[in-house]
């Protein structure tokens, strides 16, 4: 144990970090089922898990807490992986998935739908995803037009420009539509409450596509960390690698945003934690992000249920309040790892 903490992160085995984090995640998932909204205490909820619960308790655990936990799992998985990919491709440890215009794109798409009369409850999950994809395709189109897709800095700059434009347009839209403004207020702060299984299932195909892309792109992306020309020398095409990464990030963030709203900081902090535990190699970081992302979201969600009882604090607010100090600590730390 002491030996583990004294060894350099890059020399620890992935499993030695993966297993404890995964166990912690299982523990948090159980907590998430046992604790929280509804008049069902941990004891009653535990009986439900053993198959001896009352109808009321069954309803609360299986219809409210279970979907919420699953959504936390999926959203955390998506955001953690998307964050790690984004930071690797932008060569910037402070890059966030939202930088590509992904979050702004999905928020804008949702705002349009709401302004046209939809309600957050019936909003199809794919909508936010389509918005995310369109957002990042615009960014890529701009950089491609200049023939500069090979430049990660331009990619981020174009993303930032598009993000502010889309955010401004969303505000404008909501200014003229009070009902939509009310509806989106809850959505924008991010919450895993009130979403259901159907939304989750409808995202499955796109998530499978995204994960296949990630499996394919992990090795080329790792070689890109050695330098642009080294990657070309090894037979990879950096421009194509970046396109695949950006596409996967859009699918992942779009999915997470669709089911949990724009949850910030998770995509930024999770890869940081993963690197602190097992080093900067993207192939290792990605593996650890698999349990770490859900762990961060679900533990944040459980805490948000406990401290704001009986109301529940929106997840986005909590992740921001926890994430900001963590980020400041990272900024103040002695040295940032180079990516």
């Amino acid at each position: 144990m002491v030996f583990w903490f004294n060894s350099p992160p890059a020399q620890r085995s992935v499993m030695s970090a993966f297993i404890p984090v995964a166990l912690l995640l299982v523990f948090c998932c159980v907590c998430s089922l046992l604790l929280g909204a509804g008049n069902v205490g941990p004891k009653e909820a535990f009986q439900v898990l053993l198959g001896q619960g009352t109808d009321d308790a069954n309803f609360i655990v299986y219809e409210l807490r279970l979907p919420r936990t699953l959504i936390g799992l999926v959203a955390g998985l998506c955001l953690g992986i998307a964050g790690a990919l984004m930071q690797a491709v932008a060569r910037n440890p402070l890059a966030e998935p939202g930088l590509l215009g992904v979050s702004a794109g999905s928020a804008f798409a949702v705002a349009i739908a709401l302004a046209m009369g939809a309600s957050t409850a019936t909003l199809p999950a794919e909508l936010a995803q389509v918005g995310a994809l369109i957002g990042c395709l615009c960014v890529i189109a701009v950089t491609q037009m200049q023939g500069q897709c090979n430049d990660p800095i331009r990619l981020v700059l174009a993303g930032a420009a598009l993000t502010s434009l889309l955010t401004a347009m969303t505000s404008l839209l909501l200014m003229y539509n009070e009902r939509a403004a009310d509806e989106i207020r809850f959505w924008v702060t991010g919450s895993v409450a009130g979403r259901n299984f159907e939304q989750l299932m409808s995202l499955a195909p796109s998530l499978i596509i995204a994960f296949v892309c990630v499996l394919y792109v992990a090795r080329p992306l790792a070689s890109l960390a050695l330098g642009e020309r080294v990657a070309i020398g090894l037979g990879y095409k950096p421009g194509r690698i970046r396109l695949i990464v950006v596409f996967s990030v859009a699918l992942l963030v779009g999915a997470a945003t669709a089911i949990a709203g724009p949850v910030i900081f998770v995509g930024l902090v999770v890869p940081f934690m993963a690197r602190a535990l097992i080093g900067v190699d993207i192939r290792r970081t990605l593996w650890l992000c698999v349990p770490l992302g859900p762990l961060v979201i679900i533990s944040a969600d459980v805490i948000s249920r406990l401290i704001a009882q009986p109301a529940e604090m929106p997840l986005g607010v909590l992740t921001a309040m926890v994430g900001a100090p963590v980020l400041l600590a990272i900024v103040r730390s002695q040295r940032l790892p180079t990516l």
Binding site: R219, A225, R229, V230, V280
Partner: protein, 268 residues
């Protein structure tokens, strides 16, 4: 080990390369001598790195072709080129937390697919590269804790693990002190003696003469002259390339030309 003995040829045919809108190299013809070390020399900005980038398919030509075994290099799948030609660029990045063996493993990527990632032959190639670059004792060391010369040897080992008959190096010794330069040059020489065809961009003229079998002297995007260092290296050539006056004497031990009595030509 795959037989790497000078089986793959690389040449430039009427090659024209541009940086943005500026033409750097125009209608250049060059064939690398098989199984030899070729050094590309010339003043800053003469286009030698651009030429190397063109030869290694990083730059797309505006005109003419780079021929790998007689076929346009851009017509091959990039991965197939990577099995014939290894490249060590100048702008390598050594990420935090990667060790020597992990770096060398990247050299095996062109031989692997997403589905089939690790074979016995991969480990053999890595062991061979570790041996060849004399890195056995350092294989678990983090790249960032090595000296400049050791690190450069690790990068070259990555290219060795690629098992290519061709190896292109862009200023492999530029940031190294004298001892580390010799370390790297001797490794390059050994690799060529095993049959690899090597081309490198070198700044240091005496080292180029000492370690290369063939010198390509460039100025303003054109080849001024090329050939065996002992034959082509003259004080007139040094003056034409660098604008300096000097005398040349043969190294008493190796016979390769050494520059002495160097002085700047005063403009009138």
């Amino acid at each position: 080990m795959v037989d790497q003995t000078g089986t793959v040829s690389l040449s430039a045919d009427n090659l024209t390369l541009q940086h943005g809108k500026t033409t750097i190299i125009e209608s250049l013809n060059l064939t690398l001598p098989l199984g030899k070390v070729t050094a590309i020399v010339g003043p800053n900005g003469c286009g030698k790195s651009t030429l190397l980038n063109g030869l290694s398919r990083i730059h797309h030509p505006i005109g003419g072709t780079v021929l790998l075994n007689g076929k346009d290099i851009h017509k091959y799948p990039s991965k197939e080129v990577a099995r014939k030609l290894a490249l060590l660029p100048q702008d390598t990045i050594s990420p935090d937390g990667i060790n020597v063996e992990e770096l060398i493993r990247f050299g095996r990527h062109p031989h692997q697919s997403t589905m089939k990632q690790w074979k016995m032959s991969d480990q053999e190639a890595i062991d061979y590269a570790l041996n060849a670059a004399d890195l056995n004792g350092l294989k678990d060391r983090l790249l960032n804790t090595l000296s400049g010369g050791q690190r450069q040897r690790a990068w070259i080992a990555m290219s060795i693990a690629q098992e290519t008959p061709l190896l292109l190096l862009d200023e492999p010794t530029s940031a190294l002190d004298l001892g580390h330069q010799i370390e790297v040059f001797e490794l390059i020489k050994e690799l060529s003696e095993e049959g690899k065809t090597i081309a490198m961009v070198v700044h240091d003229l005496p080292s180029a003469c000492r370690y290369a079998d063939h010198i390509v002297a460039m100025k303003d995007g054109k080849i001024v002259t090329q050939g065996c260092p002992k034959k082509i290296m003259t004080k007139e050539l040094v003056l034409a390339l660098y604008g300096i006056e000097c005398d040349l004497i043969p190294d008493p031990m190796t016979g390769s030309p050494i520059l002495i009595n160097i002085k700047r030509v005063k403009s009138l």
